[in-house]
């Protein structure tokens, strides 16, 4: 296992120590993701809505080998428009941008 360059605000953990500290909880979360996708498959036929399309796109970002995965996934899930909408007809959010038009 290689050693990480110490961060100014993160002086003491090596790459190996990060894995030692967090592997088990993130192994569990990885299995939760897999189980979620399996659950959708078992639910039968149908097509993914915009949320699951975004979710699968986010999974691809995890594997592209580039840094700042969290920021890039959050940006992928975000509304890319830049001007206020005419009116808010709902209060809630869905967790992913709907590219074919919002319900509000």
């Amino acid at each position: 296992m290689s050693e990480a360059t110490p961060n100014l605000n993160h002086p003491s953990m090596t790459r190996a120590q990060v894995v030692d500290a967090y592997f088990m909880e993130h192994r569990a979360r990885l299995l939760d993701v897999a189980a979620f996708l399996d659950r959708i498959d078992r639910a039968g036929s149908g097509t993914d809505d915009f949320r699951m399309n975004a979710y699968r796109g986010a999974i691809a970002l995890l594997l592209d080998g580039k840094p700042e995965r969290t920021r890039r996934i959050l940006e992928l899930l975000s509304d890319p428009s830049t001007t206020p909408i005419a009116a808010a007809h709902v209060k809630g959010a869905t967790g992913a941008h709907n590219p074919i038009g919002k319900v509000h």
Partner: protein, 277 residues
């Protein structure tokens, strides 16, 4: 010892106060927010502002916790500008209450034109009275757009010093935008949305600890009023110095909030319940 600078205690139980006090909470600030339903009249907000400035400080004091508040009509109830302006007109008479730190949590929810109009009305009020500002940024897919719209809106009020404005609920895609413009930023520790304690510590490690705090934003939804001490544990788990833990969970909120001239985190002897009320 810690400060929770954003928690909605009117929605929490006395058990929560006990758990927070035992975990080391010495002071809180409670922004005005959405009750989970729309109030039917401005009078409903008048009563809410009395709760925030009169009864909730007494309740917190029974647990040795100093209570402060922020006033506004929240963006989820800002879609009717006439109604919202009637509520804003109530705020000045409450500004003289000793636990009021400023205007908050204002901002945007769905990034609509009416929400923006009322955000600007609040910013004008804060500018006119030289008040601190606590800003809510939208949820989930609306956060990035809303944060950028809010930062541009604040820029239109040159009397508002970015060092006296805190942009809350930042995540990895918004923290840098906020910090680069000179504002303070808050990270909200939620079980499902916003930041986990682990991600909040990641953000500190990535963007630094100078103008940043953590809060629980505990309310009537799925939330954890002792999330801040859990983040302290996460920092210690990674080997961060105790001085850094104290800075981001006590020193930083104390530094920002003290600009109001009304904030105190001095030890408070728990008071007896007032049986006359």
């Amino acid at each position: 010892m810690y400060i929770d600078p954003h928690v909605h205690m009117v929605s929490r139980s006395t058990d929560d106060y006990v758990h927070m006090a035992r975990a080391g909470c010495v002071a809180i600030t409670e922004p005005a927010f959405w009750a989970g339903y729309d109030r039917s009249s401005p009078q409903g907000f008048f009563d809410y502002f009395r709760q925030l400035t009169e009864s909730e400080p007494r309740r917190a004091a029974q647990y040795g916790i100093r209570h402060h508040t922020w006033l506004c009509i929240n963006p989820k109830e800002s879609e009717d500008p006439v109604f919202a302006r009637e509520v804003i007109a109530l705020i000045p008479e409450f500004l003289k209450k000793e636990n009021v730190l400023g205007i908050g949590e204002i901002g945007l929810n769905k990034n609509s034109r009416n929400e923006m109009e009322i955000l600007e009305a609040h910013l004008q009020l804060a500018s006119d009275h030289n008040l601190l500002v606590l800003v809510h940024t939208p949820h989930l897919e609306d956060k990035l757009k809303g944060t950028l719209l809010i930062l541009d809106a604040i820029r239109r009020f040159p009397k508002l010093d970015p060092g006296r404005v805190l942009i809350d609920h930042v995540e990895e895609h918004t923290a840098k935008h906020v910090l680069d413009r000179g504002f303070w930023c808050g990270m909200t520790l939620y079980p499902d949305t916003k930041c986990t304690p682990q991600r909040a510590v990641d953000i500190i490690e990535t963007y630094g600890s100078e103008r940043i705090w953590m809060n629980s934003a505990g309310d009537w939804g799925h939330s954890d009023p002792i999330a801040v001490p859990k983040a302290q544990m996460e920092m210690r788990r990674r080997g961060h110095l105790e001085s850094l833990v104290r800075q981001v969970t006590f020193g930083n909120p104390q530094r920002f909030l003290s600009q109001s001239g009304r904030f105190s985190a001095e030890p408070l002897q728990p008071t007896a319940p007032d049986i006359t009320r």
